[in-house]
Amino acid sequence: MNQFNTNNLLWEEIIPGGNHWSGLIRRGTALRISDMEGGANLSALFYNPENKLERYNMPDTLKAQHTAFLTTGNVCYSDMGRVMCSIINDKVGWHDTICGITDAGMIEAKYGKATFQTHRNAMHRNGKDGLLVELAKYGLSKRDLVANVNFFSKVIPDEAGSLSFVEANSKAGDFVDVRFDMNVLLVLSTAPHPLDSITNYQPAAVKLSAWHIGLAEADDVCRLSCIQNGRGFINTERYYL
């Protein structure tokens, strides 16, 4: 496995806060995803570019690993029982999977109106419309928009299931390293988390740093973190034989 090193970067790109991004990330590539300012939220969806009906599945990811959040050792499952990507290194400790995204109405109700006409590119953007714009570039639409991962955000339940947003879960410079175990169409939004308790619209920028990491080895932290993941990696490996 090739560790992250500033000398072996393939490319880097900064996504400003509130914005959206998409791209094809090939199997064996990893992304270091960095919170540039602290308090970032990066909503992410994953699709198989060969068969875009195969997509990240939140319930399958959670129940295979008996967890409601993601951190080192966890993987993201497709709805076809395959490991799409893996969290191999995480400075944050908790990434939300259950709260979804904001839409235009939620952003306006919480932060007020800020349109392109009045604010140019500092306009308020929402997660749903950002993801839909990116999905449309690949012929995908509302029907393909499913429960997403919210990197850098943390929401905890009490015993009755009431949720609380945890502020400052991620600090400026914190990062998570994600290895792509399949070719993945990656779709991202840096709009605020829907339960973010900060009342100013100030979504943080996120940096993507790509490097060639290779495939999961026999002693991989994600492969070995639970017996289910061992089977998930076998399913992924068979797909590429």
């Binding site: 319930p59 967890t67 709260c99 979804g100 339940p157 949720l163």
Partner: protein, 218 residues
């Protein structure tokens, strides 16, 4: 503390009353204002359920909207079931079970290979039932629905607690024979159910059983 709320509706007055056998799908339309009840006939039966707007099936039940718009993980009396457009689709108005899951999703051949063993692929699963219903049920075939429309569902009568440290467990059921959940439709909806055939975990007490579906007019 779970609060249970009973209904005053009499099954004799229902305009629809059907049995969905263990492991079978079920699909029907429920009109705005009608009341829809799912009755757990023998106890601890997971009823995997999705809802679609009857006028536009691209508007559908959204687990994450339902969770984040109410700040609550579990469903019970008073919970609103939200669509991906942020619209209330149904409201739970009676519940003698007390807690229903919307994180655990539906079983599928492929996820069974991950969760249990690679050779479990051939066991009957909820996604097979969903696909079968979309291919055959009269209220699906003209809507051009497919796997694209299958998203994170509700598991009525299933107990999937999340601890404050984020662990998710499949706990023994808290339902029992005769328990039910009842909801009022806030729009015309299509209901898609898989009466879960899972034999590998306690969601059905390892013994899938039939449920009854009832509808009352407003």
């Amino acid at each position: 503390m779970t609060h249970l709320f009973e209904s005053n509706l009499d099954p004799k007055d229902a305009v629809l009353s059907e049995i969905c056998n263990a492991g079978d799908p079920w699909m029907a339309e429920v009109k705005k204002g009608q009341t829809f009840r799912i009755l757990d006939l023998e106890g601890n039966q997971a009823v995997d359920t999705l809802f679609y707007s009857a006028t536009d099936s691209e508007e559908r039940y959204s687990a994450v909207d339902t969770i984040s718009r109410q700040g609550k993980l579990y469903l019970t009396t008073g919970s609103v079931l939200y669509s991906n457009e942020g619209n209330p689709m149904l409201t739970i108005i009676a519940d003698t079970c007390g807690r229903h899951d919307t994180l655990g999703g539906a079983c599928a051949s492929e996820s069974n290979t991950v969760r249990y063993a690679l050779d479990k692929r051939s066991m009957h699963s909820c996604r097979d039932s969903f696909m079968h219903a979309l291919n055959h049920c009269g209220c699906a075939t003209h809507r051009n629905m497919s796997k694209r429309d299958i998203t994170a569902n509700i598991n009525f009568f299933m107990n999937v607690p999340v601890t404050s440290d984020g662990r998710l467990s499949f706990a023994d059921g808290i339902s029992g024979a005769g328990k039910y959940v009842e909801m009022r439709a806030e729009m015309d909806v299509v209901v898609l159910i898989s009466n879960c055939p899972q034999l590998n975990n306690p969601c059905n007490a390892y013994n899938p059983t039939p449920v009854q579906l009832l509808v009352w007019n407003a």
